[in-house]
Every structure is written in structure tokens, then in C-alpha cells.
Assembly symmetry: C2
Amino acid sequence: MSKRISDEAAAKAMEEIRSGPSSFHHGDSLPYIHKVGAPPKQNLLTEIKHAVKETFFPDNPFGHLKDQPGKRKLFLGLQTVFPIFDWARGYNLSKFKGDLVSGLTIASLCIPQDIAYAKLANLDPKYGLYTSFVAPLVYAFMGSSRDIAIGPVAVVSLLLGSMLTDEISNYKTHDYVRLAFTATFFAGITQMALGLLRLGFLIDFLSHAAIVGFMAGAAITIALQQLKGLLGISTFTKKTDIVSVMRSVWTNVHHGWNWETIVIGVAFLAFLLITKYLAKKNKKLFWLSAIAPLTSVILSTFFVYITRADKKGVSIVKKIDKGVNPASASEIFFSGKYLGAGVRIGVVAGMIALTEAIAIGRTFAAMKDYQLDGNKEMVAMGTMNIIGSLTSCYVATGSFSRSAVNFMAGCQTAVSNIVMSIVVLLTLLFLTPLFKYTPNAVLASIIIAAVVNLVDIDAAVLLWKVDKFDFIACMGAFFGVIFKNVEIGLLIAVAISFAKILLQVTRPRTAVLGRLPGTTVYRNIQQYPNATQVSGMLIIRVDSAIYFSNSNYIKDRILRWVTDENEQRKEGIQYLIVEMAPVTDIDTSGIHAFEYLHKSLQKREIQLVLANPGPVVMEKLHASNLANKIGEDKIFLSVADAVATFAPQAEP
Amino acid sequence: MSKRISDEAAAKAMEEIRSGPSSFHHGDSLPYIHKVGAPPKQNLLTEIKHAVKETFFPDNPFGHLKDQPGKRKLFLGLQTVFPIFDWARGYNLSKFKGDLVSGLTIASLCIPQDIAYAKLANLDPKYGLYTSFVAPLVYAFMGSSRDIAIGPVAVVSLLLGSMLTDEISNYKTHDYVRLAFTATFFAGITQMALGLLRLGFLIDFLSHAAIVGFMAGAAITIALQQLKGLLGISTFTKKTDIVSVMRSVWTNVHHGWNWETIVIGVAFLAFLLITKYLAKKNKKLFWLSAIAPLTSVILSTFFVYITRADKKGVSIVKKIDKGVNPASASEIFFSGKYLGAGVRIGVVAGMIALTEAIAIGRTFAAMKDYQLDGNKEMVAMGTMNIIGSLTSCYVATGSFSRSAVNFMAGCQTAVSNIVMSIVVLLTLLFLTPLFKYTPNAVLASIIIAAVVNLVDIDAAVLLWKVDKFDFIACMGAFFGVIFKNVEIGLLIAVAISFAKILLQVTRPRTAVLGRLPGTTVYRNIQQYPNATQVSGMLIIRVDSAIYFSNSNYIKDRILRWVTDENEQRKEGIQYLIVEMAPVTDIDTSGIHAFEYLHKSLQKREIQLVLANPGPVVMEKLHASNLANKIGEDKIFLSVADAVATFAPQAEP
């Protein structure tokens, strides 16, 4: 039984452990009151070293390099930068089988998606394929996730398209493509810089809730954009908000819609959604949804070629250039009027791409239980996009849908990305002419089918159930995206996330504690209505570290509790006990707030008593001499001890 | 004795209190394991109402209006806006005696300071006097502090002068004065808006540490600026950094210094510092330091008038216009190119002025134990500066030095400000010509003597002792101000303060716990080296609420602890116990992080056990179904209970 040891034994052990004024007698009913000792002072250098380490290197990235001979250190360092040297040695045929199958599967999925997503970014379809060739190769050497599938993704393509068009509205000009490469280059620089400077934690400031809302909004925006292709509308708004798009759709209803296009589009959309539904119902059928897009493309292309439906107004892809990625280093704007825009778009797109990639990486790392080094991933992503921008790629990242297929198809390592990359290369070299008659309506269907999964209603419901504030952040981002545009949605998401942090650090909780009947356990009286307050005493728990941002609030809140309770109670209050257990740290502003509190209470003839301060707080109470001002005999190991000392008559 | 009740009784009482799966038997050595129940669900509306109230109305400003009849409500509401209606009814002759004496004392102090500070802002001396006439009157009606002395202050004057000169470098133009009024107007608007929108907590983001550094830097900058007047240098740099100023001083050493000026300046500086020193040694002599500035002005003016030292190069004030404040509403730039600058300068100056006023107000409120409503103070300050800007005043706020004198001279209410205001009015009406021969060197001495107190070395030492990070913030602000300028210093201070908040919310502490020998108390093994770990178990305490900003860090950090300890221990780890006592809240990102943690641990065949989650956390664990995934039987009231259940052989 956990509590069967005697209190005396416990007390004795505590005495041995702690320094400082130890035992203190108060009447004969109190043989032992344990004192809270201050911990030994730490060396300043150690302290700083420790703080820097925990802040920037919590994952201890070079831990395994320690105590190794020079040559081995070099090799291990190389492994740290290029994880492929680590896992390649243990690579074998059975692993390759898994990677081959999954690589081929994601390749069949990515080729039609690449063509479609490039159009979302207002780029030629070939750039989507280029991106799916170079980026996965680079990632395979540097990335530490084994399951992520790299390439262009819908949300980043949309964001890029939207931001690029804001700068250069005519996306058919060569400058538009050049700006896309410029943005990709700076997206890579941003990602790499975040990783190298160990600032990876910055992406954590975009909360999960905000991402859920942003992704759902982006998915709906993307789907709405596809109405153009799906309904065969030729004059369509350039805006992305739901009002403009729906107006565009309805004004075209009588003469702008093309029924042949609609038949093709809706038929294949139904096919794609049904295979998706089947795959969801039965996990073993996942391959069905994986090959459905390519099947749709082949069937619809063949159908259009046979019927020459393109002559009846069904718009087709027309021409995709043959051949591998041309070099594009000279295309990037390193100066001139578009440099600023390129940097800005690159930073935003790079951060969003990173957020998506890290979220995917974490999900699968947790499923297979391996560690994913966020900062290392960022460096890998950054390198990938920098090299991409020099070889005619646009921003690549991890794709939710393809990564899931990759995982389910049994991928073992990043070799599946290499397999996919080779398939894309072969496509670029030999197969692109075959896409000439592919109807755009099928590409629209493929996009819609791909993004429906981004609308995660279950996640939104969970947000509502668990945390209302998270739900507001989610809805804010969602409505921002669908009623305005992706940038505004993103801005709202970040703003709400920051507001939450501000609230967290300025308005911590405080609670009045009462004793649970017949025990010495003190709990929040609002949660436990039958907890009773001790006569003449007010016990308050502060539920946060006390810093400059909340110290005044905490002081004022405590004084208000005192005033309110003092009015309500006939006998008044003689002791204020502050339960400090959750107060993990206190800074000088916090110390000052307690000094003010102490002074105010003195005027009211109320004693300030502290219960259970942690080691850091205790150290600072001593350093600032506040412990002396309050009185060492007013600092107790627990609320129960303090009550026993000052209100022995209240003993249960 | 606090712990003498039996465990059985405690357990029984707990059973009654809690709902949920209650008792649970595990072997015969464990008759009672208390379960942590989830609290009853709160009504959503109540929850939101409560959150809004705690965030924006923690001081319950209209609490006293509740349950009052209509007419009385109106009167009480009026009292809330104009506290003078509250305290005026209890006002009596004895209080007036105190206010009269203190009002006269601060008037004698403020007149020379006003003239000197106006010059710091590059304004005509009369504007300093104007400001000391209108602002204190307005404050007396609306302010809730009884001790604060209102008027122009050194730091805000310097800041204003520096920022205004950046916009209009020739401060002799009329536009310069107009911009000063514009900035004052928007400073008032800013202050009022902060108060009305209940955003007063924003000024708490400038930490105490940053203010200490900023004030000390500003004081030294101000003192250095006075070398111009004190040494009688005619061509002086316009920059405020220490390097430029010292260069200016040394290049003028051979022909630029005026020895008559130096004699006057240094003599009176010595006089002022000595009286200050005496007053500090003996509190009863405070009046000595209070009247010393006016005495210096009178003596030096008389001396210059007699000796006509102004003809020997001693620079004098020359002329101060007679008469009360002219209206200046038409002078404010409500449009045109200076509007933007006016708003920007106003916002910065308004915030700094507010910070100073609130800090003073809080200090004296704590000394006399009355409540100071921060938001109400801001509305008062804002109104005061808006009215001021319409009546030829510049930014006014509470002065550290004069408020202290006011307090020591025995002020009772804001009437002392009214007395001071009347004296200033009389001066404006009749006495300004007398200042014609006042040497600028004496004004320089008065400023230097006034600002030396802003360099608070004791506070800096305390910062160093208590919190190294605070010390860095302090030094950053200090060096920023003296080596660059006040705006840069301010920026550094705010940036470091924010960095600290970011650190706080992204890198919370975690600790490995061990059992103190012979007890069931679990403490940090780094603080208590003889605490022992339980075989096969790792016990970790998370010292923060778990939010999106830190959830990934916490998860990764815990997994790293597990990996490290698993390698070190022969017997490995079978149970990970997470002590949740300091985790006051968790959001959806936190829930997800724990799901990942749970999955990762499952792969490693380690059981995840939670100890002592708080009510909010418990509610969210249930709402998200995570409690079920982990298993209700893995959630314990305390670490001791969890250890007793899973490692009964480890019992002490």
C-alpha cells in the first residue's frame, strides 16, 4: 500500500535530505513540520549551457558523435547529414520488394496529380512532373522519414498560384515562371535556414487547430476552382473566394457549361470517389484508389481520342514537352523588382510546405516508432527545394494522400521515392505525348477526389469537444480561406494562435482550495463542491509559472479573492495560503508582485503563507531575499502542513 | 498533526466525492486506489462568459453596480468614471492640510523641471509649464491614484524629442510644435483605447527587467545631453548615443567650453546632489531635496542678473511667454504627410508614458494598500493627454521623483495635484519674466540630479541574482539606449521580453522523478540526488500546460528520456509514469502529442501511465477519448498509487 509508511519515517527521511532550517515546533501536536530547502546554487556557465542545449538542441543531434575516434566521427557526421548512409548498409532484397511495389503505386498516383496540381499553380503541366523527378531524389539522400512521398501538393500549389498571380496577373508570361522558381529558391533557403538555425520550433506556432481549418478551407477552395474544368466553363473568375466562384458558375449556367465535359468529369469523379470509398471501407483495397487516377486518365484520354470530343468543346491538355528538367539557375530573379515578391512568397510557401511535411513525417514516425529530427528534415526539405529551383521545379513537399498510399503499399525506406522518381523520369522521356488528349475535366476530378480528404470533419468535431478556443481558430482559418483567400486564412490562423499564447501567458488560472471532508487533501472548491474552506484562512492555488506577463494579474486576482472572501466571511481572513506547486518558475517581476502582495496583506493584517514552492522558485525566493521578508517559518512543504500549523483546531 | 488521519478514512471520503470508475483491486496489498474523476461538463455559454470575464474584466469593474436601484446605479457609474466624486465626500480640512503642503512642495520641484524637460523635447520652456497646468487638473478628476504627481517627465520628453527630430530635424519650425501636439493627441487616443478595450495587460509585456535597463540607459543619455548646457558648448551633436556625445564633448574641449558656465553648473549640481544625499540618509530632510531645484534657480538667476554673466557667454533661458495655455486643436495634423508620423510617435510615447505611470501607481497603491484599476487609469491618462493636446500641452504622465516627494510630503488625495496646478497657473500668469536670466547650466544640473535616481544599480544586481535572462533583457535595453538611441533600446527590450515568452511557451521544463528514501514522495532526481528511481519504471514530470506551441517538444523530450534511460538500465523500462500535476491545461495538439507518445511506447512495449491529471485535463482526456485509449486503469491519483499498483515489490 502506497501510503502505509509512517509519517515519522517520512519526516525523518526528509530531514536528512534537506538543508536549511529544518524542524520547527508549534504546540505539542506538531512534532514534524518539513521545511522546503533551497537547492544548491548552480554554476552560471553550466546553467547557460544547459539552457542553450534545451532550447536549441533538445534532440541532442550530435550526442552519438561523442567519445568516438576522429575518422568514425567523420563518418557518423556524414550519416547525420545524409541518413541514406545509415540505412543503406542494412538494405536488402526483401526491403526492396516493398519499396518497389509502393514506389510504382505512388508513381501511378503522382503522375496525373502532378499534371493537375501544376495547373493549380497556373504553371505548365510539365513543371509538376519535373518537380516529381528531382525533389524525391534529393530527399531520398537527406530525409529521415521512411514513409513520406515527396512532390507537388495541392495546397502549396494553390497558395503559390494565388500569391504569384497577385504579383503577375498574366500567368502566361515567362516572368511568371521565373517568379515561381525564385519563390521556390527562397522557400528552400527559408527551410534550410530554419533547420540550420535550429528554429524549427517556429512552425509549431501554427497550431494543429489552425492547420485543420486552413486545410479544409484550402480543399474547398481548390474543389471550387475545379468547377471550371468540370463544367467546361471558359470564362472564369480569377478570385478564389466562394462568392466570386459561385457567381462565375451561375452566370455561365445557360451558355457557358459544356455537357460533354460534364459527363466525362462527373463520371470519372464518381469512379474516383467510389474507389476511394471502397478503399476506406476495406484497407486491403487501397490499391484500387491508388491506381484509379491513372486508370481514369488512360480511359478518358482514349475516349476523347476515339470520339474527338475535343472538337465538341471538351478542353484537353494539348501538349506536354518531352524531355528532362532543363537547368533554371539563370531564370531566378536575384535582383530587380520581383526579388522582394519572390522572397516574400518563398517564405510563406516554404513555411506552409514545411508544416505539411513535418506533420506527415511525425504521423508516420509515431506509427512505426522512429525518431524524426525536425531540424534535419528542414535542412533536407530546404536543400531539395533549392536544387529544385535550379532544375525547373517548383515547391515540393510531402503529400498527405500519396504518403498514406506509400505507407499502406508497404514502403520500407526512401527508396520508394527513388522508384517513383525513375518512373516519372521515364514518363518525361517517352510518355508525355500520350497526355495530349487527356481532358482537363478528368484532371479536375482527380484534384477534387484528392482534396476531399483534407476536409477533416471528425477533427473539427474533436476540436469542438476538447477545446472551444481551438475550434474558433479552426473556423477562423477556414472561413478566412473560403470567403477571402489563402493568405488571409493563414493570417487569421496565425493571429488566433498567437492570441491563444498571449492569453496563456497573461491570464493563468487561479483556484480557491478547500479540504475534502475527512482528508488533508485540498482541491478546487468549484470542482469539488463539498470541499470545505478552513475558517480564517483562504487557500489559493496559482496554476502557472509567474512571469512579467502575468505577475500583475496574479497579484490583483489574489487580492480580489481576498477582498471578496473577506466580505463574505463573518470571522474574516487571517491567513492567505498560496499553493505554489504548479508555479514552476518565477522571475523578478513575479518576485515584485509577491512583495506588493505581501505589503498589501500586511496593511490588512493578513499573513502570507507559501505552500510547496518548487526548487527553482525556492532558489529565487532566497536570492531575492523575499523568503526572509515573508519569513522562513511561513513557507511550508504542503498546504496541509500550513493549515496544521496555523489552524490546529481545524484538524479533521 | 496534519497527516495523522488514516488512509482508509481518506480513501473513503474520496470515493464519495468522485464519480467515475471508483475502486479497483489489484492484488491484496492494494485495498484502495483512488481514481481521478472527470468533473461535470460545464455549460458552453457559462464557459465563454467566464473566459471573457477573466480575460478582460478580471477586476470586475462594475461589480458594485449590481443589485442597485437605477438612480444609485447612475451615481455609482459616475463615481467609477470620476473617482473624485467618490473621495470628495469624505474630504476634510486635515486631509487638505496634507495636500496643500505636498502640492506646494511638488510645485516648487516641478517648475524648474518643466522648463528643463521641455528643452529635452526640443520644445520651448513654456510648453513644459502648460503641461503641468492642464494635465494634473484633468487627472485629479479621473485618476484613481492618490500619490502620483502628474506632468512632463524626463524619459518621455527625451523619447519625444528624439522621435520628433527624426521627422523634422529643424526643431525651431512651427511644424515641429504641431507634430508634438499631434503625437500627444494620438498618445492620448492610444492610452484611452487600451483602457476602454481592456487591453491594459499589453503594457505588462514590457517586463520589469527591460524597464530597469531602459530607464537607466535613458537616464545616462539624458545626463550626457546635459553636458552641452553644463559645459557651455555651443555646437553639439544631435545624436544621443554615447560615442557621438563624447566625441562632441572632446572636440570642443579647447575652445568650446565656457568656464563661467562650468562654475555655475558644477556648483549647483554639487548642491543638488548633496541635498539629495542628505534627504536619502535622513528621510525627514526630504524637503531639502524638494526645494533645492527652485532655490538653485532663484540663486543662479539672481547671480547672473547681478554679474551679467550672460555677456560672458553663459547661456540663459531668455524669454518665457506670459499667459495661460492657448488652444491648439487647430494645430494638430489630422491629415497630410505628418499624420502617419504623429500616430506612430504617439503610440510609442503613449505606451511608454503609460508604463511609467502604471508602475508608479502600483508602487504607491501597494504601499497604502488601495486597489488601482489599470484600465481606468489608462482612460484617465488618455483623456488627460487628449485634452492636453488641445491646450498646448505635450505628453504628460506620472513622474517617479515628484510622486515620491508627493508621498513623503504627506499627500492624501489628488488635491495635491490641483494645488500644484494652481501654483503653475500663477507662475504662468505672473512669474515667467523672472526666469529670463536663469542660466541653462542650472537647468542642466537640475535634470542630471533628477535622473540619477533612474539608474537603479540595486535592481540590476537583483536581476542578476534572481534571473539571468531578466538581466540580459535589462542589459540589452540599457546598451541599446546608450549606444544607439531610445527607440532601438525600446525595441531590444520588447524583443527580448517576447523571446522570453516564446521560450516559456515552447520549452517547458521536464524532470525525472525518484522516490525520496523511506517515503512515497517523488522528487526531481537532479535536485535530490539521493532520490532513487523505481526499477523498470521511468517517472517524468511535465512542468507546464501542454499547448500546440510545446506539445511536440514535450513528446520528443519524453521519448528521449525513455531512450536514454532504456539504454542505461539493465532491466529496461516497462512503465512510463507521467506526473501531470503541473499540467493545468491541454489542447488538441497536446492530446495528439500524447496519442503519438502512446503509439510510440506501444511499439516499444512500454505502458503509458498518467498520474494526477487536473480537472481540466481530465475532462479533455475524456472528451477526446484518449482516456479510453490509454486505459482508465492507467490513470492514477498520484505517482505513489501508480507505483504501488505496477511495482508492488518496490514498496519502501
